[in-house]
């Protein structure tokens, strides 16, 4: 029982990061119908930023907020340089564009920095644990859970209570009608990228605190987890993306701890198998994007 509680907290820690990544991907998919395979590049750029800032003597207290700003800027620049030009193009064209950005950014780092991974220090408290009775809780997991909660609540407030949020949701439901209401395409899409950048930035902080390294492919794994989580949740559903992220994190942790010794490396394979099964039974993902029949 104690063990299970610990695993659940561990899983929520992982899942929280996945949820933030998936939510950013779902927000972009909502307004543009683009599955953004370049989302991981926000993490890559954040990773190098952290590395360089550490090299210049800054610490995590400075680096963490900077990472968010850098992720937002990167998201806005990618939108402006690449996605703006294929807006309204067939979904496949946009998908290819996002792959293009993904490989281009990766290649730029290989060419102008190095193909090698570089290390930077992880925060000292990352392996600290708190003991409560028989429970030993990783401070890191608790920090991720708290940060995820705050970020998700903030995002919820933004989407439900502000005119920007209403515009974003309107554009996601029916883009042309949103434009007829006076919503500016450029603005709402840029806003979606800013939001996805903030979410990726918060995720990046914790991802990088744990990994402690920067490399051209640093964003690949977080991007894959984010896309997977968004697919599990049902692309286009924002709450689905969050649920998908949490589910993915929990399943991973529960699998790792249950697989017999030496087979933990199979976790990712088994996760993919489970996802394939999910899509056999629920092709629309966990949450169906419900469109009430128009009368």
């Amino acid at each position: 029982m104690i063990e299970l509680i610990q695993q659940i907290i561990d899983g929520l820690g992982r899942g929280g990061i996945y949820a933030l990544l998936a939510l950013g991907i779902a927000v972009i998919f909502g307004v543009m119908h683009l599955i953004n395979f370049a989302h991981g590049e926000l993490i890559t750029v954040s990773a190098y930023t952290s590395y360089w800032l550490f090299a210049s003597g800054f610490n995590w207290w400075f680096i963490a907020p900077t990472v968010i700003v850098v992720a937002v800027l990167t998201a806005v620049i990618i939108e402006f340089v690449a996605f703006r030009w294929v807006r309204g193009a067939p979904d496949f064209t946009m998908l290819m564009t996002s792959f293009g950005v993904h490989f281009l950014v990766q290649a730029l780092f290989v060419m102008y920095v190095s193909a090698n991974f570089r290390q930077f220090p992880r925060p000292g408290w990352i392996f600290d644990t708190w003991r409560i009775g028989d429970l030993s809780l990783e401070v890191f997991d608790l920090a991720v859970i708290a940060a995820t909660l705050v970020t998700l609540l903030g995002t919820y407030w933004l989407l439900q209570r502000t005119m920007f949020g209403v515009s974003l949701r309107a554009a996601a439901e029916d883009f042309d009608t949103a434009r007829l209401m006076g919503i500016r395409s450029n603005r709402v899409i840029r806003g979606a990228f800013v939001l996805s950048g903030v979410l990726a930035g918060v995720a990046a902080i914790f991802w990088l605190m744990r990994s402690g390294q920067a490399g051209p492919t640093a964003g690949l794994n977080p991007m894959l987890k984010g896309v997977l989580a968004a697919l599990i949740g049902g692309l286009g559903s924002l709450s689905g993306a969050v649920l998908g992220g949490i589910t993915l994190g929990l399943v991973e942790v529960l699998l790792i701890s249950r697989l017999p010794g030496g087979t933990a490396g199979l976790t990712d394979g088994i996760v993919f198998l489970l996802i394939a099964l999910l899509f056999v039974f629920r092709p629309q993902g966990l949450i169906t994007v419900r469109r009430v029949e128009r009368v």
Partner: protein, 238 residues
């Protein structure tokens, strides 16, 4: 107020609007009638900026607004109630209205919202209801209310009575009459030709992308030949 000159709109090689010219004066209720596939929706979508014309000119308030994007047209004072209403079904009724007022300052938006619930009392009780569950009549009122939230100088409506039960169709025409009395400028596409002609000042008849007749509504209503030839409704009472 609104002037269209030699407007041409194409879908690839299909020309859906051919050399259309029309005028709507301030305070007028003008209607556009015509059979299915005549190009009425295409014409409205072009005026509102959803489609780019291949040629021609759109003038609003003496400003050349040809090819402006919909959000810019809205800010210039032209709103469209789209065909099939296009309510945001995941939204509450209140949120739908708020989106309609997205270009307004917050205080004015609240005022307009209050005006809309006075104009449409049914919406008042359903403000927090999910819009996807409204009945056809309620949804139509919401669609019109949402467009009015931008306080437009000209309101375009594409078949507001489409798919409504006869009682509700009457409600729509009552509403058009009320909007007319309050001095609104309206340009309305309607299938219920006779009913619409009874509340309009002037009318245009469109077929195969072209305007084939126009004149004062009462005069057109009396032309049996038009209904038989162009609208395929003898007597026009359908």
């Amino acid at each position: 107020m609104l002037d269209i000159e030699s407007l041409i709109t194409r879908y690839g090689t299909i020309t859906a609007v051919r050399d259309v010219a029309l005028t709507v004066q301030a305070g007028e209720v003008v209607c556009l009638i015509g059979p299915n596939g005549a190009g009425k929706t295409t014409l409205l979508a072009t005026i509102a900026g959803l489609l780019k014309p291949s040629a021609g000119r759109v003038t609003l308030d003496n400003k050349n607004v040809t090819g402006w994007a919909p959000d810019r047209m809205l800010r210039a004072g032209l709103a469209l109630v789209p065909e099939h209403r296009r309510i945001f079904s995941d939204f509450t009724v209140r949120e739908n209205l708020l989106v309609g007022g997205v270009t307004q300052p917050a205080s004015r938006r609240q005022e307009l919202l209050d005006e809309m619930v006075t104009l449409f009392p049914v919406l008042k009780e359903r403000l927090s209801a999910q819009a996807g569950y409204l009945s056809g009549g309620e949804a139509q009122q919401l669609a019109i209310g949402r467009a009015l939230m931008s306080d437009p100088a000209v309101l375009l409506m594409d078949e507001p009575s489409l798919g409504l039960a006869p009682v509700l169709v009457e409600q729509v025409f009552d509403l058009i009459t009320r909007l007319r009395i309050s001095g609104r400028t309206l340009f309305v596409v309607e299938q219920n030709a006779q009913r619409m002609l009874a509340v309009a000042d002037r009318a245009y008849v469109m077929r195969s992308g072209e305007i084939v007749a126009d004149g004062p509504a009462a005069q057109l209503a009396a032309r049996e030949d038009l209904f038989e030839t162009y609208l395929g409704q003898s007597g026009g009472n359908a």
